[in-house]
Structures are given as structure tokens and as C-alpha cells.
Symmetry: C2
Subunit: 384 residues, 2 copies
Amino acid sequence: MQSFTFHNPTRILFGRGQIAKISREIPAAARVMLTFGGGSIRQNGVYDQIQAALKGREVVEFGGIEPNPTFETLMKAVDKARQERVDFLLAAGGGSVVDGTKFIAAAVPFDGDPWDLCLRHTPPASALPLGAVLTLPATGSESNGYAVITRKSTLEKLSFGHPSLFPCFAVLDPEATFSLPPRQVANGVVDAFVHVMEQYLTYPAEAPLQDRLAESILQTLIEVGPRTLAEPQDYEARASLMWCANLALNGLIGAGVPQDWSTHALGHELTALHGIDHGRTLAILLPNLLWVQREGKRAKLLQFAERVWGLREGSEGVRVEGGIVRTREFFESLGVSTHLEDYNPDRDRAEEIVARLERRGVLPLGERKDLDAAKVREILLLCR
Amino acid sequence: MQSFTFHNPTRILFGRGQIAKISREIPAAARVMLTFGGGSIRQNGVYDQIQAALKGREVVEFGGIEPNPTFETLMKAVDKARQERVDFLLAAGGGSVVDGTKFIAAAVPFDGDPWDLCLRHTPPASALPLGAVLTLPATGSESNGYAVITRKSTLEKLSFGHPSLFPCFAVLDPEATFSLPPRQVANGVVDAFVHVMEQYLTYPAEAPLQDRLAESILQTLIEVGPRTLAEPQDYEARASLMWCANLALNGLIGAGVPQDWSTHALGHELTALHGIDHGRTLAILLPNLLWVQREGKRAKLLQFAERVWGLREGSEGVRVEGGIVRTREFFESLGVSTHLEDYNPDRDRAEEIVARLERRGVLPLGERKDLDAAKVREILLLCR
């Protein structure tokens, strides 16, 4: 087991009607900015519940944060927050709204060009406190310190993170997710699954508890993913999906173990260049990345095949491939195509992706730092 | 899944040499009181590492906190802390030292008789901040808000808890545990195992992820418990035990599920009246309690037998009993007797225990509140 620091200060308020409790989580004198996306919170009752909880408070609003939140949009929110002297941010939405709100939190007091938070990973000297009301179980952003921001002008999608960006609280009410489009639910299942895989499917590190915790989330996602797609208003299935997605990226399962994150690094490029949903880029990439990286990941691929998919028969090669095939089939069973061509990309941009990764100096990727330009090309070739 | 609030603000510093980091976790101007037990920290190097980390700070010391820390001893520490105007407590030891230090933290600013914290569960209006350097993986006290205190004069062992009593930080260095006596290590494995069982072995609550997380800890304890007893200086085994014991009682696996805690309630009586180690009281009680409660716990006992012990053959009755027998055998394999008579209790005190529980109004116990006086007698009768 590697040495680690684990600290997750976010207070989780989980269950029906928990939005009502946010009033005691936000300082009474705070000037709050409520941030949200395209307005679905007005249809699903979340907006009304928040208004009821914050009755009598000073609340300004900033709507229109898009999926893959953009620097361009968020800087408008930064201007508004500065003008209105906002000192608490309340994000209501999915991972994009929460990520975007983290950027606002760090950018409002930032001295200099806030894009440096993403591009140069300049640590923020301070950040506005924020809370989250989650409406889409997927990214885990509601209780971690990370965010991914897209710059439209340069088609860059970059991540940043800081301990000051953990939300103070996160409301996880499964009922707030009942009206989600199936497409977004499926994306969320894939996203949570791949978050686990980035921290689990590496090499053995004498961390048997972390391995089992990761397998627990994978097994539960396999169990409840299809069920919650079939029955969107099944509270219990949605609750388990929501808790899985949260624990997949709250820092716990990655504490003390090697981590990969190359599927995400490549996925961000597919989103930035082709506009493909984040979860879908991961579904396209993961099976092919595991295949190309199968030698370095062999021991964990065998463990994954056996413990997660119950594959105990056949040669090691058969089981390694079997686990990857089952993973692909699982994504497809959720209605998520694992083939790039199904998303009608306008052209092959493999060389452009390699060049961009090289320019940012992030290659080689992977837990062994062995995923070089040649392997990126190989993976992208398999992604057709 | 039940609704829940989960909040664990303790920063975990895990691994070799992490004690050196405590200086940045404790405010520079703090007047620190270092609390410890019988002095083992002077032999195992922990004391020296703490002194090195806090060089130049004002540190007063209070040693001699006993296993099952007593109100009588702790009140001396409270007096000293008040006299010395201490404003930060640093506990170095096992669960008893950490529990005792939580009592000191709450008692120093307490207005009234501090025993009311335990007896009447009076919430503390404030508490001194505390940190912990753990030397014995067992109770999980290093990152939760609970403590158990014994009053020698009345032979009462009572628990209390408050969110203000979470340690700010906890150092978990597996090397700090290498010199533990095997008896304490075995007790720790049993304690962690039973902490999981109190939160897992109840009734199904549509919480498949929580179930699997709990089973993950149980399986890992079964795997590393004997190994770490056989090879005390095997860093990896000790590290896994330490992380298991922490996660067994940091609030995570109990979030959203019913909880029992009757094994602990009865165990505290056996310790208070017979002076038996806490872990050993649990090993004596748990198998018999599961047997007496087997109808209400049937579904989870079957799941436990299958998933934790791999028992898939035979009738339901055979598998229920098999899981309980395996659990007893596991405790015995660690050198922990599960028979009360092996601890030479001076006399049968079953009626006294029932009377004490009734006087405190805690009966009936259990996740279904069905463990009444008659069942307590039945369990204690089986504990011979």
C-alpha cells in the first residue's frame, strides 16, 4: 500500500426531502449565487425546493451553465458574482454545473487570468465556499475538489483541482434524478464505472481492501445500472446508483493505490474535438485502452475478470479478453455505443489528439507512464 | 436505503514516517497536551517522533490513561489541562487513549459534572480540538466522534459521542504497531470485525453497496488477521489491518442501513463487571447473539455465510449455523477464546447485567428492538 493523505470534508445529505436542510448549511448572512444549467431544475421541482429552503435570503441566479462547462460562460458568472459581492455559491445540477461552480469559486478571488487555474494548475490562494444539490449521479464532483473546464476558443478541455474546492455540503436526493433522460443516466453509470476502473485496473499494490471496495462499486453498478434505466422511478435503484457514483470519486478507493486516468485524458480530447458526451467517450475508449495495455495490467485484468464478471474458466488470455468483452457488452446494454463511428465524427483526428497531448507535455500517460504517442494512436485506431 | 447524513472531517495521514507531518496540522500557537497510556510510546519510537515533530512547541504531558479509560483518571487530565490553559490535545496510543482524550476535550470547557456527557448524553457546547497518533488498529476512534468511558466507582462503562469530537487529523503509521503484543493485535482484529457486523448483520435494507463494502472489510480482516499475527513486521498486512479497522467505524458502512450494537452493549457490561478485554467480550458474545437472533437476522446471515465464508451448500439452517460457526472458529484461530469460562469470571452476573441494562432503560436492544431481558439471559447463558 502506498502512503496517502485522505481528507473529504463534504457533508453528505442523502435521501428524500434533504434539500430542505440546506438553509442550516449556508451561513445566514451569506449572499448566495444559485448556479444551474439549462433549466431542468425548474421542471423537476428542485428549483422550488431550493427557493423554499432559502426563503428570505438574498439569492442571485446564474443559469445556462452548459454540459462541458465553458470558460467563456463561466467568466460571465465570475463577473456577476464579483458585481453582486456574492460570498457563497450553490450549484444545482449535474457534474458540469458543480465543476463550473468550482471554477467560479476559485476564479472570483483569483488574481490574474483564471484560465491559469486549468492551463498552468496555478493553485488558488482562496476560493468562495460552495454547496451542491445534485441532480445527476455520475461524476462524483459533488464531494471532491476536482473540475474539468472547456475553453471553446481553443477546444481545450482541462482539469484542475484544489482542497479548497470540496463543496461544504452535497444534497443527494434520488428523487431529484427521476426525470433525467435515459441517455444521461446511462452516461452516468459508465462515468462512475470508469472512475472506479481508473483507480482499480492498474497493477497489484498490496491493497486488498481498496481492491474489494472498488469491486463492490463495480458489481453494484452492474446490478443497478440496467434496473434504474428500466425503472427510472425505482427509488432504491436510483439511490444505489447515486451512492456508487459518489463513492467512485470521493478519494476513498484511490487512497494508497496507483491510478491511471489515461481513459479520461483521451476522452476529454474526443469531447473537445468531436463534441461527444463525456461518458460515451469513456465507453468508446476503455475497452480498447485495456486491450492495448493488457500486458501491464494483466494481473488486475485477471482479478477483474474473476471477481467482477465471475470468469474462472479458460486460459489467462481468454479471461483477460473475457473481462474486457463483458465490460464493452455492459456499456452497450445500457444503450451506450462503444464505437466511435456511431457518433459520426467529422474526420479522423488521431494525429491532432497526439499532437495536442504532446504539446501539453502529458505523455506518456498511465499508472506506469508507458502510454506513449504510439499507443495513443493504436487505441484511437481501435476506436473506430 | 435509509436517509442519512455522512460527514467525516478527519484528515488521515497514512504510512511510514507520517508522524513528522503533525506539526503542520497543529496551530503554531497552540498549547498542546500530549496524552498517552502506559508508556509503550516511549519504547516504540512514537514518543520520540512526536517530540521531534513538535520541537520548540509548548507541550505538556499526561500519561497513564488505562485500557477502558476511567472517569477518575481522565478528570485529573481535565484539571491539568485547565490549569495549563491547554487548547489542543494530541492523543498517542490506541482506542482507549483516543477515547479518553475525547472525554478530556469535551470535559475541559464543560459547565457542570462532565460525567453527564456519558450518563445523560448531555451534548458538549464546545470541545478542545484534538489529533491522534494511532498505535493500535482496532476501534476506529481515531476518525469518529465516539468514545467509551468507564467509571470505576460504579463499574459503569458508557459511550458518548458528538460531531465536535472527530479528531482533526489521525496518523496511521503501520510501523508504529509493529511492537504490539499479539494479544492486542488479535483483540483489534475481533473489534474491527464486530464493528462491521454491528452495521451489516441486521436485515436487508436495499443497500447493496453498503453490504458489499462491509463484506469487503470482513473478507480482508479474515485474510490479513492471521497473517499479521504471524508476521508482526509485515508492513503490508499491518497496513491493511489498520485501514480495515479505520473504515469499519468511520461512519461509511453504516450510512443508510439499520444498525444493531447489542453485542457492544452487552460486551461493555462484561468488561465493566469481569474486567475482560473489550475485543474478547465481543468474541464471546457475537456468536451466541447471532444464534439467539438468527430468525430476525436470517436473510443477512445467509448472505454472510455465502459471500464471506463461501457457504453455498446445504439447507438454510445449515448455512446460517455454518456462518456463525466459522466466525467463532475465526476468533479462536486468532487465539481469542470465545468461551466466558476461559476468562475465569468470579461468578455468574447475568441477572446483575439484566438489572443494570433495565435500570439505564436501554432494553430492548437490537436493530428491531427485540432483544429483551429474556434474550439477554439466553445469550449470557450460552456464553459459558
